[in-house]
């Protein structure tokens, strides 16, 4: 027997093989999608688009945008810059102040209550910064060391923290320069607000500005101005003063 015999013998194989394989188009093997160059091309294109969006997406500077960072160093630095102070030793998002007399979380024992208003509502203001943590009474002037440096604080500038205990119906803060910022000390969440901010409960509110200039902060209750705080900036000493004038 030789190969010719085998070839001739194949002529008598089962008809089903011949008819089944006569039409080759039915047997065209489909290429798996993950073996197609188009598949990898699509993946690469999506990757590039994703990276491009990440790189070119503008930073959110809107007052209502939320910058959320619970644990990162960026969050800590952000807060330090808020006061124009660089403190690389700080490891937690909790703010600590040099010469801290009283933390922002705890109202001072000698907190002076503000004027009485309708419904016996009482509010108090406490000014906190890296240097001080004290109540701001009527006609009081509190010196706040600025240490403002655009290099150190290119985005947030100087800030002053007010711990405000509002009256029952809430208080509205307004400023003619800068804006208000709140910071959740538990979660590290920082929220930018506009130049107007409504307080419903006791909270720490930061006033901040990109440029060290004088500012006026009004505290309103039901559209009535119940208190005014002037912020003064002294170029020579590079300090801020907060004075409650009403």
């Amino acid at each position: 027997m030789d190969s010719k015999d085998l070839i001739h013998a194949m002529n008598n194989i089962d008809d089903k093989y011949i008819s089944e394989f006569a039409d080759t188009s039915k047997f065209k093997k489909k290429t798996k999608f993950y073996l197609m160059p188009r598949f990898y091309g699509s993946i690469a294109a999506l990757f590039v688009i994703g990276i491009s969006i990440f790189i070119f997406m503008p930073k959110n500077n809107s007052p209502t945008d939320i910058i959320q960072n619970n644990t990162s160093t960026e969050s800590e630095t952000y807060h330090d810059d808020f006061f124009g102070i660089t403190n690389n030793q700080q490891k937690t998002p909790q703010p600590t102040y040099e010469n801290d007399v009283n933390t922002a979380n705890e109202p001072a024992d000698n907190a002076v209550k503000g004027e009485n208003f309708a419904d016996d509502n009482i509010f108090s203001i406490k000014v906190c910064s890296a240097e001080i943590s004290t109540e701001l009474n009527l006609n009081d002037t509190v010196q706040i060391k600025g240490d403002y440096n655009p290099v150190m604080s290119s985005s947030r500038g100087i800030g002053i923290e007010f711990e405000i205990t509002p009256i029952a119906n809430g208080l509205t803060l307004q400023t003619d320069n800068g804006n208000f910022v709140t910071w959740n000390k538990d979660t590290g969440e920082i929220t930018n607000h506009s130049s107007e901010y409504f307080i419903e409960e006791k909270s720490n509110v930061f006033w901040t500005t990109l440029s060290p200039e004088n500012a006026v902060i009004k505290i309103l209750s039901r559209n009535n101005v119940i208190s005014v705080i002037n912020i003064y900036y002294d170029e020579n000493t590079n300090t801020f003063s907060a004075q409650r004038i009403q």
Partner: protein, 184 residues
């Protein structure tokens, strides 16, 4: 037209039977014949002879599978023509296929078989049956239809070299199988 109706036309001795057969299977017949002969004129002649063969065979035959019936006739006639054109055989796929299948049979212990082709075909049927679908397709298309590797690659989407490797393994297995079946 369906095969049954074409066969009916043959039984009615209608000349349209050849026309319909040619329209439906002309291309396939030409492919089979061309793969064996490698010559267009010879292939056309064989295909026409095949139609004539079918005309003579039906009736009395009433094939269950007209495709296989026709293709077998075309293949047989083409192989005979190829034998006649033996001087040219090295140029055709048939010649290459013969060489490739030689390796299945070249053995010191080859029994110069008195085995009938029918028995050998039965053995081949068993061998093909145990192959997976892709390998069945490759084996039958290569050694029955005598497709080129390039054509197999186009029809399956498998790379030519991969097909060569697969068929090499199939031939190797065929050799073992034939030995087990005491054919060689």
């Amino acid at each position: 037209m369906e095969d049954e109706k074409i066969i009916e036309l043959f039984f009615k001795r209608s000349e349209n039977a050849i026309t319909e057969l040619s329209q439906k299977y002309g291309q396939l017949c030409m492919t089979v014949s061309m793969n064996i002969l490698g010559n267009n004129e010879d292939a056309e002649e064989c295909v026409n002879d095949s139609y004539f063969g079918v005309w003579n065979a039906i009736p009395p035959h009433k094939p269950d599978n007209l495709t296989a019936f026709l293709c077998k006739i075309v293949r047989n006639l083409s192989l005979k023509r190829c034998s006649r054109n033996s001087a040219e055989k090295r140029k055709s796929n048939y010649g290459v296929c013969i060489d490739e299948l030689d390796e299945c049979l070249l053995s010191a212990n080859t029994v110069e078989s008195e085995l009938e082709f029918g028995e050998l075909s039965g053995t081949l049927d068993k061998f093909i049956a145990q192959l997976d679908k892709t390998n069945q397709f490759l084996f039958v298309r290569r050694y029955w239809f005598m497709d080129s590797y390039e054509s197999l690659s186009k029809s399956t989407g498998i790379k030519e070299q991969a097909i060569r490797t697969r068929l090499s393994r199939i031939r190797s297995n065929l050799k073992k199988f034939l030995a087990e079946q005491e054919v060689i």
